[in-house]
Subunit: 403 residues, 2 copies
């Protein structure tokens, strides 16, 4: 058996194909590229039994990843994050079968580690020496740390308002770090120019095709953790949307491999955004296949502050094809939801994760989610990366005082 069953890259818009053995970014038509695998060949030699004795990390699915030689794997042990029951919160929102996929329990404390692990590994395999990216924080932190582990240098540009902890992570890794007085789109322009001029490997969201393969493993894990049964609904906080595109791709690949029964309906995928930045929600409401740039976007859930995602059409397609939907939530309410999750389930989720839980609550109230359905919410990172979202006053005692 080969380590990877990747065959080639293809364009989901114009169907043009590209080799996976050389550097490729966007299609000549401007679309992101996706990875194709020899699934029919793989289905004959690969079954869930093969996984039983493998390590609990995302490399257990290496046949479905684009890295051809194991020696190029750059790993900090990422993946197989907990899928935990949320019975108290579930009762509170009348979704008894509510589950959280907790992506805070991963190196760097955010799901971005998945894309970085696979993306950096593939970059290493392709001989890349220096990568560059714009980021809202967590992706830059993950990519610069994994690049450091691979012995690669990195150039990271992030908005000055990005969470300060992610700055520290990038700086500590030895990355060339810059702040920009603007949004991630401004950072993107600076990186694009520098990449063209200096020959840096541009790993902006979906401008390299392998990050999505790392994110895809969230979908593979959810299916494996549910014993190869799909849940009814998966909610995902959506900025660039790579995770949602990846989860959708994973579920389809599992169907093609025959690992889930053909009668099983795909889960309804839900893209969750903030009212302050909801381009996908707006497009979905209007039945469109592309989103419009969201002016003056603003939300406390910084990771989903993406005014126009390059893969918006792939996100929207996944929603339409799974009978899913897109929901915008209110920033104040998501902070209340974050507090309830901690009080009822003992988990300090990130604001983006709280947004997705709040969306589940709203969709249940509207009847879009039924009480008997199994619902998986993605918490994309640890709340400890966003300490400023918690506003507290604590009494101070002197030694010898009594309570």
């Amino acid at each position: 058996m080969s380590y990877s069953y990747m065959s080639h890259l293809y364009c989901p818009k114009c169907s043009k194909t590209y080799s996976a053995d050389e550097e490729n970014h966007l299609c000549t038509c401007g679309s992101p590229l996706l990875v194709d695998y020899k699934l029919e060949e793989l289905s004959k030699v690969f079954s869930p039994d093969n996984l039983v004795k493998r390590q609990p990390d995302l490399w257990r699915y290496h046949e479905l990843l684009p890295v051809k030689e194991e020696e190029n794997k750059v790993s900090l042990g990422e993946g197989m994050t907990p899928l935990i029951k949320c019975p108290s919160l579930g009762t509170n929102m009348d979704i008894p079968n509510l589950l959280m996929k907790d992506e805070g329990v991963i190196p760097t404390g955010a799901f971005k580690a998945r894309g970085a692990a696979v993306g950096v590994s593939k970059a290493k395999e392709l001989g890349v020496k220096e990568l560059a990216m714009p980021t809202n924080g967590n992706a830059g932190a993950a990519w610069s740390l994994y690049a450091a582990r691979a012995g690669m240098s990195s150039t990271i540009v992030m908005p000055i308002d990005a969470p300060s902890i992610t700055r520290n992570e990038c700086a500590l890794s030895g990355a060339n770090l810059y702040l920009v007085n603007g949004l991630i789109s401004d950072a993107g322009k600076i990186v694009g120019k520098a990449s063209a001029e200096k020959g840096l490997y541009d790993v902006s969201t979906l401008k390299e095709p392998y990050r999505i393969e790392g994110k895809k493993t969230m979908g593979l894990e959810i299916a494996e953790q549910l014993n190869w049964e799909f849940p009814d609904v998966i909610l995902y906080p959506t900025g660039g949307g790579v995770g949602l595109i990846g989860i959708y791709k994973a579920l389809k690949e599992l169907q093609q491999l025959g690992w889930v029964s053909p009668e099983q309906k795909l889960p309804r995928l839900v893209a969750v955004q903030s009212e302050g930045c909801a381009p996908i929600v707006e497009a979905w409401k209007e039945g469109k296949h592309e989103s419009a740039f969201w002016e003056n976007s603003e939300t406390i859930a910084f990771g989903i502050n993406v005014p126009k995602a390059i893969g918006d059409f792939l996100v929207l397609d996944a929603l339409y094809e799974t009978d899913g939907c897109a929901v915008a939530v209110n920033d104040d309410d998501l902070l209340k939801e974050q507090k309830w999750i901690a009080e009822l389930e003992g988990s300090f989720v990130c604001p983006e994760g709280a947004a997705a839980f709040l969306a589940a609550r709203q969709l249940r109230q509207e009847g879009w989610i039924q009480a008997n359905e199994q619902v998986v919410v993605l918490n994309t990172g640890a709340g400890i990366k966003y300490p400023d979202t918690v506003d507290i006053e604590v009494p101070t005692l002197e030694p010898g005082d009594s309570l």
Copy 2:
């Protein structure tokens, strides 16, 4: 098979025994209590093969844990943290076979989650409704969150200088949180008084016997991840020392179960402290079996700022019985080590973890560690919980600027 093979509690100082079915804290002689298991009975029905299909969390070892009924398990998916190779850092410090057990990859971002998960579960089983503890931060965060998940209330007292993120975690969980203008020892006195007066369940370090059982699973996992072979050396940043006592207990239990070959020498255990708070190191140098209170203790590695550990004699015994040692490191140097670990291995470790890596470097320089030895360093938490340890200056660009 029973879910747990616990038999009773016993005092390691005076050998008195206690029931594990009722609340017990310290022995009447003042010593912490330890849990004993029916290992001979268990060894007849339990082998590593039993583990293969179990979830990758610490409950895979439930026979060796004190929770009798699975329904009392309070879990966020903690455990089976990565054991990752550190080849670049290893080359740098001439320990080619250097490994990190990364306890940052766990709910709450610190190894305290293990003690909290098992301790809170057992408290639930014993019918506890309200617990109380003093903390240097991370333990309080973990216990208050797990208590919330169990539907239990908690009272937490922490020094005003404890990492501010851990304050947020406690507050968010709904704990009754207090700061004290002093050290953890001052917090301890306040909690002790309140527990006595109000009948709270005091879960101070080693004042309840089950936290150590949770921490023990680090030792079980290291052995399993190395395919039931012991490494030569394990380094552990030591404050209260519960993790080190637990790892030692785990290794002995594995020997008694016959899961490691009887010829295998126990790993040499190393207690790592800061020069600003090194009571165990001082005691070890003098060959003593108890430590003296360290006056005016101070270190940037806040989690190991414990001037006098109640289980000091157990830590020292573990060092003597494994031919281990105790090492103090310098705060400035450990911050340099933290930076190297990020640059060379892509991991942002906590200051306590950096201290343990620095100790490995020093022990190699002194020849106490040999170049051919397999060395496991415990990183007890994620660096992102301590953003203030990273001091950075970053250039700021305007939109449209070039790099």
